[in-house]
Symmetry: C2
Subunit: 342 residues, 2 copies
DNA sequence: AATTACTCTTGGAACGTTCCATTTTACCTT
DNA sequence: AAGGTAAAATGGAACGTTCCAAGAGTAATT
């Protein structure tokens, strides 16, 4: 399945003024030490004396030296690039997560590079193949639908870690970090049952994604714990429009519905929009709980109750795996039910 | 202002199994040609015979060779990395734009890497400094507030292009690609005037950003062309919540307002939300026009009229500058008024 | 058949760093 | 002051590619 390997950069104007760049040699000369010492100082080694460090830093300042990571990576056979491969950056939750991951990776002293696959498995393959040519240290990947477990597995190399996030690929051997979807949906549903609601629907989401099944499982589990609860499920595309359509269908078919658990906040926004059109007030007339806790959710006219997935927690779990090179299969990150007015 | 230069990657487990990797030499040996020929084939040169190409491609397949871009970049002193430096990826329009840029850059045969500055000038400085160590070919940068023109200018190097997008930094010499903000707001306002509205407000936005002034200028220009138009301006934070607050203030102070031009779609969403609370119907009771044309806008219960900024157009303009290395100052990308029901 | 012209191929040097084995320096201890 | 030991500094080799100048092969022209 290897692609024939061409390097087809249509050559851009390269402006190749051959001005010699400043190297460790130049810094060494100015500082009056050897290039090896400069290298030690650059890497923050404690094998260089304070006096040497001082001289070298001054020389760096004077010469305007810029570290050449390509050369370093080539010699040391290890890069500090971490690739964050996101399925859909236009999804607000994904974007949040990407930003959190980037921040935590930077705090680890590594360089994060973000790429977007647009939920397209072929694009994912191509981008990842190209990133491999940069010898990235790690892939943090939210796999597109139809990602092959075997493909994911073979990405793991002695010098390359792989962590999959948010979605689980059946049969894959790579460590995976997920929010506790089932628990979240379970708690949300329980909260609605505690309002004495007996007619509850699960709204939105797409069966092609593993989250969906986990959240739905939590929903069903909570409902089945009591034998007087009736439930319905209405799927939809995972956006605001889908939420609106699913809610309209729900109200048409199940007028007695008392509350809904939404696949995520975006879907919940669509639900709320539809309810407003019908002059129904979220919380008062129909209970609505979302999933994700987007920034907007607490600021809506009726603040949205939701299950918060803390992107920082996900990022921390991922970084923990990176640091310790644990091969442990699954890390479930706790989620928190946040009850607001809806 | 150069940072003392430490490379402080807390060392992660490196798993340094010294399994020799496959190089051009190995491929050459298997293919029965010289390493130079392999290199030519890899770069898609037409100086290699078809027969040689074939042998090399087969050998690549056999050996499982992976191109080492770090080595290539070091020797050739040119990378094919293009950095997209985005001010705020959690903003849906920025995310859209980033995705479009990434796609177009990939089509150019280059590798895009996305980083996020969270509107923080210091973070921007740090990230860009690190990217310079990778010898990126180009920076496409949406500058944070308080970006210094001198800093932006000195990023331009013989081997590094810089293009600023969406925001203009006063005094900077780098090429800049902007949507035609003034024209967009002008046309939006004109469209409201054509509805025979005489009392029009400009809602939302933050005076720290250059777009704001351009859009407001277009608004004012349209209003002043006729001498019976009264206008008001209500600033806000640039999010949904801000839109809601600004609209509530507007209705309180200017009950006779007939329509509003919003700084962007997100603000317009907040405006619409507030109108719904007051039982006012967008379009019928109060005209609302947004800016950006986010995906959700056409799908709202009352489809939002808006000024569309096509992210692909921006991306194309940027790529045109990259390809031709034009130093031309300002490229204004046309925008389109899309009248829907609001 | 010799000359020219052109296409294709090639080995060695080079890119800027880190690694490593070795030497130099500094610091104790007696 | 001599010896021993650890810390600091160093020069050359190496990483895997591309560049370059030159060589080999082939076809066309005389």
């Amino acid at each position: 399945m290897r692609q024939p390997h061409f390097i087809d950069s249509q050559n851009l104007k390269t402006n190749n003024t051959n001005k010699q760049s400043v190297t460790v040699h130049d810094v060494a000369r100015v500082a009056g030490v050897s290039k090896s010492t400069v290298s030690l100082v650059l890497r923050g080694s404690d094998k260089a004396s304070d006096r040497a460090k001082e001289k070298v830093l001054k020389a760096i300042e004077e010469t305007g030296y810029v570290y050449n990571r390509e050369a370093a990576a080539m010699r040391s056979k290890s890069s500090d690039l971490v690739a964050i491969v996101i399925n859909d950056l236009t999804n607000p939750y994904s974007a949040n997560l990407a930003v959190a991951l980037e921040k935590h990776i930077r705090e680890l002293g590594l360089m994060a590079t973000l790429v977007n696959t647009s939920e397209n498995a072929l694009t994912q393959t191509q981008i990842v193949a190209k990133l491999q040519e940069y010898r990235v240290k790690a892939f943090i990947i939210c796999p597109t639908p139809n990602t092959q477990a075997s493909w994911l597995n073979q990405l793991q190399k002695p010098h390359t870690q792989v962590v999959s996030i948010m979605r689980q690929v059946d049969g894959s051997q790579v460590p995976c970090v997920l929010p506790n979807n089932e628990m979240g949906a379970y708690n949300a549903t329980k909260a609605l049952i505690a309002r004495d609601h007996k007619h509850i629907a699960f709204i939105g989401g797409d069966a092609a994604i593993s989250d969906y099944h986990q959240r739905l499982a939590g929903f069903n589990k909570a409902a089945k714990e009591q034998n007087d609860i009736q439930t319905w499920v209405f799927n939809s595309t995972t956006n605001r429009h889908g939420g609106r359509l699913a809610m309209s269908e729900c109200l048409a078919q199940v007028p007695q519905v008392e509350s809904v658990v939404c696949f995520n906040d975006i879907v919940a926004y669509g639900v709320i929009e539809y309810l407003a059109e019908q002059n129904l007030k979220p919380g008062a007339d129909i209970g609505v709980i979302g999933f994700d806790d987007l920034d907007d959710s607490k600021l809506m006219s009726v603040p949205l109750s939701t299950v918060k997935i803390d992107a920082n927690d996900i990022a921390k779990a991922v970084c923990h795996i990176l640091k310790n090179d644990t091969q442990k299969g699954l890390t479930q990150v706790p989620v928190a039910l946040i009850e607001r007015s809806s």
